[in-house]
Amino acid sequence: MADTKPIAPDAFAPAQVAETAKEQIAAPNLTFSQDALRRLKQNKAAVISFWLLVLIFAAALLSLVVTPHDPNAQNLNYTYLPPKWGNLHVPFFDGYQNGIDMYAHNQVPKGTYFLLGTDYLGRDLLSRILVGTRISLFIGVIATLFDLVIGVGYGIISGWNGGWVDTLMQRVIEIISSVPNLVVVILMLLVFKPGLTSIIVAIAVTSWITMARLIRAQTLKLKDQEFVLAARTLGESSVKIAVKHLVPNLSSTIIIQTMFTIPTAIFFEAFLSYIGIGLPAPTASLGTLLNDGQKALQTQPYLLIYPAIVIVVLMLAFNLLADGLRDAFDPKSAH
């Protein structure tokens, strides 16, 4: 190798090295969550899912204040009106069915439109979907609360204490999880009236099991980590160790599992309502809408299709976001 540059006469004099230059860190100061967020942003499916969910949440919340029509108002003159988007004459959304303008046929006043049509009692489908989505999301949020409060707490206590406490708590979990959810709901129906309460109680009893098991397994792993041992040798109490060391390191598991709990709960409610032991009429939920829509499937397919699209989008979005979050929080486990 030949020297490329001419060598200056003083080149071999001792160099001055700044003391501070020795321990510099060049990489930008990223926290763990910033780093995870960066990875999440690279996942297009997860980002789209996130914004879809934001949109759905916003629409559902908006329905508390205002809906296009009263979701429970019946008008027998307006039964089975097909979707109509103003006077735009978009195919399938122009109010025609079998070549007949149903709006004219039913003498609907000008300026009254039902964007997604009406059901057999003349109720506006769009308003009912918005309200139904809200109830589904509400059930999802309730399930999350139980996950966080019971599941996380139960898992940490069981894993941290170990010994007979752990054994006892795990036996309890096994007993609970051996009873099918459906049986629990039917038992609840003996006590409560069919409705939101019995569904919520059923979820409260069963939904947190998976979370508790995951958190216990993680806690068992974490409690032998040296930073937890270090906290113990410093004299930190168990409660403080849980709050300062365990929960932050469990947060990714918690978030990811929540993202799987929500759609499961939504689906559970839809399933119960669909088979008729869920929410009673006239309350709208995605399950009851599907149940209603299925009855008129041959003539008014839109009554089934639109609620179905909403529930499919919700499920997909939650699952894709959960996958994205898992990959972002735990890059090693990806694929």
């Binding site: 190798m1 060598i7 090295v17 990489a27 930008p28």
Partner: protein, 346 residues
């Protein structure tokens, strides 16, 4: 001597979110048939990445910027994935650091040892198992025949590393890459594994690349040594040249930082600071910020290799004819005296 492996001007970059990491910065070395080359360096010096390149096992975000890797006359970097699979476990085999994770816990060891034979040669299962028993006996597993059906967890750490070695050598590879094979083991077991590697090398005539950060181990096994720092080789030579006549201040630092049983010193010499961040390597010699002998030129220009002997060269400006003579540390002076005595004898 015949060259079996030649790495020329190899440069490898990794793309990360923070920028491009120049992990390997123009590395040249070769390996002769039947010899042991030790590559010494700290974590992050690029020794493992270099070996992954030789095995064709680079990560997805790595890119080869320049260079060639010739194994037995063939260019490894140009090989297809299929050709690489053909090569791995056959012409080149690797022994990893952790014997706990490099064996499949759900497969009996006989099957694991015989697998490379079944993959790369047309051997029947019965023959392959027979060969597995032979190789397991060779690496010192007693009563191998009856232990073929045992699972990895039924063996101790040292025995597991022996099994890993058996898997690596069953196809008589021309090159055996051992990536810190003794770091996870106890000293007594480490000594056994090293003498085992030496014995096997004699028996099957393979060339070994021994990657380690522990100079003590190197002295016992290597014929030649290459010292890596910050993605470059900074000094290479025969084992005696590196241990008794080192030239690069980094090699000095490494030798000085190790306490030996015989030397009593008040204070250990510690190379100050930490290795440079290869996101933006410093201008000039990457070791300059930690080098007590640094000169102005070190901060401006990367030193080329200055030959010391036919087999020995170091990349430090201290060897430039215009550079001032420096006083090496005590420990190095002691070693150089031994070197002078050896020279005189010759």
């Amino acid at each position: 001597m015949e060259e079996i492996l030649a790495v020329k001007d190899l440069a490898i970059d990794f793309a990360t979110y923070a920028g491009v990491v120049h992990a390997i910065r123009h590395v040249d070395f070769h390996l002769n048939k039947g010899e042991t080359l030790a590559i010494v360096g700290e974590s992050g010096s690029g020794k493992s990445v270099t070996m992954r390149t030789v095995m064709g096992l680079l990560a997805n975000n790595a890119s080869v910027v320049s260079g060639t890797v010739q194994l037995a006359g063939e260019d490894v970097l140009a090989k297809s994935e299929k050709a690489l699979n053909e090569m791995r476990g056959n012409e080149v085999a690797m022994i990893f650091q952790d014997p706990m994770t490099s064996l499949d816990p759900t497969m009996p060891i006989g099957k694991q040892v015989a697998e490379p034979l079944l993959l790369h040669t047309k051997t029947t299962k019965a023959e392959a198992l027979k060969e597995a028993v032979r190789v397991l006996t060779l690496v010192g597993i007693t009563d191998a025949q009856s232990r073929l059906k045992d699972y990895p967890h039924q063996f101790s750490g040292g025995q597991r590393q022996r099994i890993v070695i058996a898997i690596a050598i069953i196809n008589h590879p021309q090159v055996l890459i051992a990536d810190e094979p003794t770091t996870a083991l106890d000293v007594t077991v480490q000594a056994q594994i090293i003498s085992l590697l030496k014995a096997i090398q004699k028996k099957i005539d393979t060339a070994i690349i021994f990657i380690t950060h522990d100079l003590g181990v190197v002295a016992g096994i290597a014929d030649r040594v290459a010292v890596m720092y910050a993605g470059k080789i900074v000094e290479y030579g025969t084992v005696d040249e590196i241990f008794y006549n080192p030239m690069h201040p980094y090699t000095w630092g490494l030798l000085e930082a190790m306490p030996t049983l015989s030397t009593v010193r008040q204070r250990l010499f510690a190379i100050p600071g930490t290795p440079p961040d290869l996101l933006n390597p410093p201008q000039g010699d990457a070791f300059a910020p930690r080098n007590p002998y640094a000169m102005k030129i070190d901060q401006e220009q990367e030193p080329p290799f200055f030959p010391v002997s036919k087999t020995h060269a170091a990349a430090t400006w201290l060897l430039h004819p215009d550079a001032p003579a420096v006083e090496p540390p005590e420990e190095i002076k002691r070693r150089k005296q031994l070197w002078a005595q050896k020279e005189a004898k010759r």
